[in-house]
Amino acid sequence: MIDPLWLAVIGTSALAFILKYLGHSVPKSWLSHPRILKINSLIPIALLSALVAVQAFTKDSRLIADQRLAGVGVAVLALILRAPFPVVVISAAATSAALFHLN
């Protein structure tokens, strides 16, 4: 009988690596068609946009608006004002943390 915790550690790690390696192993020729190139360049945009939304607006599979929303709102403002990247991140953190402590 394998310990479930060890099974989880090894199984998760092995599958995570296989998934990562798979993407790097697709033959170049499959990806060289202009249409596929276009789609391939759009996929990370879709995934990372979705990631931002899920990280900012959800908790435990529920939609929720909390201090994170204000933090990300300030980040948007900083981006519009062309603030340097670290300023964008720090202003979001400061806003969210301030609201967290106020509550």
Binding site: L5, L7, A8, V9, G11, T12, S13, L15, A16, F17, L19, K20, L22, G23, H24, S25, V26, K28, L31, R35, L37, K38, I39, S41, L42, I43, P44, I45, A46, L47, L48, S49, A50, L51, V52, A53, V54, Q55, A56, F57, S61, L63, Q67, R68, A70, V72, V74, A75, V76, L79, P84, F85, P86, V88, V89, A92, A93, T95, S96, F100
Partner: protein
Amino acid sequence: MNRATAAQSLSVSLTVGAYGIAFGAASVAAGFSVWQSCLLSLLTFTGASQFAVVGVLGAGGSAISGIATATLLGVRNTLYGLRMAPVLNVKGLRRIFAAQLTIDESTGVALSQEKTGLREMRQGFWLTGIGVFIFWNIFTLAGALGAQAMGDPAAWGLDAAVPAAFLGLLWPRLINKTDRLLAVAACALALAMTPYFVPGVPIISTAVLAVFFGLRARVWK
């Protein structure tokens, strides 16, 4: 070395790395040993999957369901790999390292340099991948050993800093109308699906939108 890329990589590595404390603490609280928690960060090295597996087992779920949930969250790394492989163009041992470092953060920084050039994309990928790897693992160990003085990541605003960082990486890449529309559509679809699907599915599903927009977009060159 491009200074803006270096600043991005460092900011992302520190912000996301600091979350490792929360992971280390959550993992030990779920019943994993310090050693097992560190192995998860070293070998799995994809945050969402790691939080998922310790969450499932901590809540009394089976190893298989923990692995399944974590794996679903890891599928997006395959899609990142498809994008990064032609940029990095590496073989053998280097490809193994590149694969292990293919995560949201390294892909995000590379993506934000797309306008600048291939060289900057590569630099962004490696710098961020290695940076996150170092900080994520150090902070996991700290969290697992009981550095809970830090407390809730929300108290430090980390829960907003992480999405803000990804947004900051994405921002310069939203060049034309197609990109912006796709970004908004992906946010909407993922949020609409979140209450009804298991974690991981809402985000990967947005790849379908990328295919749809890609088929309709004008193709240059």
